[in-house]
Amino acid sequence: MNYTDILTSKFEPETTGTTIMAVIYDGGLIIGADSRTSSGQFVADRCADKIDYVHDRIFCLRSGSAADTQAIAKYVRYYIDAHAQELGRLPAVATAANLFRNFLYEYKDSLSAAIIVAGWDPYKGPQIFTLPLGGSVIEQKWSIGGSGSTFIWGFCDSNYKENMTLQEARAFVLHAVAHAMYRDGSSGGIIRLLNVTKDKIEREFIDYKDVPVK
């Protein structure tokens, strides 16, 4: 176990030791994340927003070093913006995923970043791409990430169903993230949910007292 004695060590770099999740349902996708950013044992930000805007219907969930992932997301946001202007229509989620992938792959020795790219496009509908540490790209129907995800693999494997309704998917994400926050010291605080569909984006703030598992 990696225990850092706070009395003798300097603070560790800020990471989103975290729980992030995205699930495709029938008609869109639900994204969920906790709100804790930690620096070693210290909670640097207790209400962070880990759901980053990339484009109108493309979002990324960040885990690993906060600095690395923020910097990469900023670049990709810029590239996608320019690309969308030239294209004149909504960019493909796969394009954004590929731009992230280029960073994570080329600089794999210097970066500590794992990202979930989730969004909707008019060509293939809702999609989720998982980009783990090395820079590989894996398309999935549902994805969990961050340190808290280790605690909910069993829960997710047994509770995931194809073609869920919006309510089922929302409850699935809410309970999974809550269970991860319950056990992971690096996850906590409030839960932020985002519903992405063809027509709209809906954000939801789940206050600590409404988190189902405490």
Binding site: D5, G17, R203, F205
Partner: protein, 236 residues
């Protein structure tokens, strides 16, 4: 710190902690001493054991709590109980005072520190004896400090300011409890290894009282928290 187990040939028990308990906060008040801690033991970064009692009665007028390696905490409880039992064998009606326990623990901790095999703990002993309040900290090296208020672990960084501003040594029990609750609220918000269910225990003239665990209320629904979401970047 991580101690090198190759230095001495004998078995090392505490080279680095595995199951750890969180901060302990103790205050003196007008009628006795109160100690508070949360009910969580962490396994590294995992919140593994959520309903753990980390404050223990040692004798009629002494309580003990500590933060750090939980197995060492359990071992210390056994060692302190041995003192009580061997004192009974003299059959002279003399019971160890809280300070006797504190002193013994300091000597024990120092001896183990000299052998590079420490009890990986910051210990708090609290008691009430001969109408006097007793509160002491014994740390991992065997340093012994008597004081009116004690904080261990992360609480030393966050809670001393709260205690300085809202507590004095002659406050009431209720006031002291409120100060400790406020401290644990801050810890729950800012310490990754903290839990919002805490337990309070106090010693006064009547003896020791260990209360049932309670949950502290923290506030998360600030407007600034809700609206800081990256919605401002959305264009539609």
């Amino acid at each position: 710190m991580i101690f090198n187990s190759e230095i001495s040939g004998q078995q090392q028990h505490t080279t680095s902690p595995v199951v750890t308990g969180g901060s302990v906060i103790a205050l003196v008040y007008n009628g006795g001493v109160i100690v508070g801690s949360d009910t969580l033991c962490s396994y590294g970064s995992m919140a593994a054991f959520k309903n753990v009692q980390k404050i223990v009665q040692i004798s009629q007028n002494t309580i003990y709590a500590s933060s750090g390696e939980y197995s060492d905490f359990q071992q210390v409880v056994k060692e302190l109980a041995k003192i009580d039992r061997s004192a009974l064998q003299y059959d002279d009606g003399v019971h160890p005072s809280p300070k006797d326990y504190g002193n013994f623990l300091a000597r024990l901790s120092y001896k183990k520190r000299c052998k590079i095999n420490p009890l990986y703990l910051q210990n708090v002993i609290a008691g009430f004896h001969n109408k006097e309040r007793y509160l002491a900290l014994v740390d991992i090296y065997g340093t012994y400090l008597e004081s009116n208020f004690i904080t261990t672990g992360f609480a030393s960084y966050f809670c001393k300011a709260i205690i300085s501003n809202y507590w004095n040594e002659n406050c009431t029990l209720e006031q002291a409890k409120q100060v400790i609750r406020e401290c644990f609220k801050v810890l729950f918000c800012r310490d990754c290894r903290a839990h919002d269910v805490i337990q309070l225990a106090y010693v006064d003239e009547q003896g020791t009282h260990i209360e049932e665990p309670e949950r502290v209320e923290t506030k998360w629904d600030f407007n600034g928290f809700k609206s800081r979401a990256n919605e401002k970047l959305h264009t539609q």
